[in-house]
Amino acid sequence: MSEKNTRNQQATSQQNWMLVIGVVVLAVIPLAFVRGEYGGSDDQAEKAITEIQPGYEPWFKHFFEPASGEIESLLFATQAALGAGVIGYAIGLYKGRSQSQQSDDKSPLE
């Protein structure tokens, strides 16, 4: 039973690495092969709107805009960091819990 479990776990962790590699490859391929400006797709949409309706003016402005591109990337990085922190915490807690349960199961036998 436990042998089967460890084998299952190994297979899953291999699969996990493949998943991560897949995501990285998908992000790198366009950078390597496509020459583009890599602007945002919503900026393009704004341009398309002004093409369809040349007179259109946005009728509402943001209350707050990041002072510069650097500040904006700081805020985006903060967002990602907060989220990743929570995910890491939750998965870590679950992992610790299931490991301590496993060792509890084992100890009476030893």
Partner: protein, 252 residues
């Protein structure tokens, strides 16, 4: 002495890496979602009206879940954090522009679609208030595409595919298609508000789909892969939670 050296080296590496990340980050451009003020007033109001009921139902659903199973709060936080991370990641795509995934599929599969209406709305609110990305007036429309249509699509695709085949394939397809569909809906919303002078709705829909959806295809695949990754972790370590949610498939 040796330990100290090692510490210094790792500190140097960390500093170097941080510098590299800050300096090398491409010139930022807000990606996707409908920008502030870019929907005419009547459409902005219309999408707000459509989105609000889902938000209310979702809130109720969340209070129900946390009351019934307080131990699921952490998993709820994880589902929210997943969309939080994914919608902060602007990834280059084959069209030579950038876009970001939505990450709403995971939570929809775990907790049902209406819960994601709330979590997705929180992410969109954060981005529109602090990052000037998306907008308050267009929040209703963006909620409808990312926090409502996406999760509902994910949920139903998952349920449909679970009957036929492997759970991981079902999760992958659900997350990827939900991601893609979010931007098809965005294109539809823009086309409804801005029909082309010649060709009307269809002409401008195709134009916006060309901008949003094609950029999104590789990202949708990435989102599917990442969702399966987190699912694998939950499957290995979060069995009790998945059992509570009745998400464990009988495996031979």
């Amino acid at each position: 002495m040796k330990a100290r050296n090692r510490k210094l080296v790792s500190l140097g590496l960390m500093a170097g890496l941080s510098c590299y990340i800050v300096l090398a980050s491409a010139t930022p451009a807000a990606a996707m979602h409908i920008s502030e003020g870019f929907l005419p007033v009547q459409w902005a109001a219309f999408w707000w009206m459509v989105a609000l009921p889902f938000f209310v139902v979702g809130l109720r659903q969340i209070t129900h879940i946390t009351k019934e199973h307080p131990e699921l709060k952490l998993l709820l936080a994880l589902a929210g954090a997943f969309t939080f991370v994914l919608s902060a990641l602007k990834i280059p795509s084959v069209t030579g522009s950038c876009s970001h995934p939505t990450g709403t599929g995971l939570g929809a599969i775990l907790f049902g679609p209406s819960v994601m209406a709330v979590l997705g709305a929180l992410v969109l609110l954060f981005q529109s208030v602090l990052l000037a990305h998306g907008g308050l007036t267009t929040l209703g429309a963006n909620m409808f595409s990312m926090a409502i249509v996406g999760p509902f699509a994910a949920y139903f695709i998952y349920q449909l595919l679970m009957r036929t085949g492997s759970q991981r394939v079902a999760i992958f397809c659900a997350a990827a298609i939900a991601d893609l569909l979010t931007y098809v809906v965005t294109s539809m919303q823009l086309a409804l508000a801005f029909p082309a002078a010649s060709g009307g709705f269809m002409a401008s829909f195709l134009k916006f789909v060309g901008i949003f959806a094609i950029t999104q295809v590789p990202l949708a695949i990435s989102e599917g892969l990442l969702t399966v990754l987190v699912w694998n972790w939950l499957h290995s370590y979060g069995q009790p939670e998945l059992e509570t949610l009745k998400l464990l498939k009988q495996e031979s």
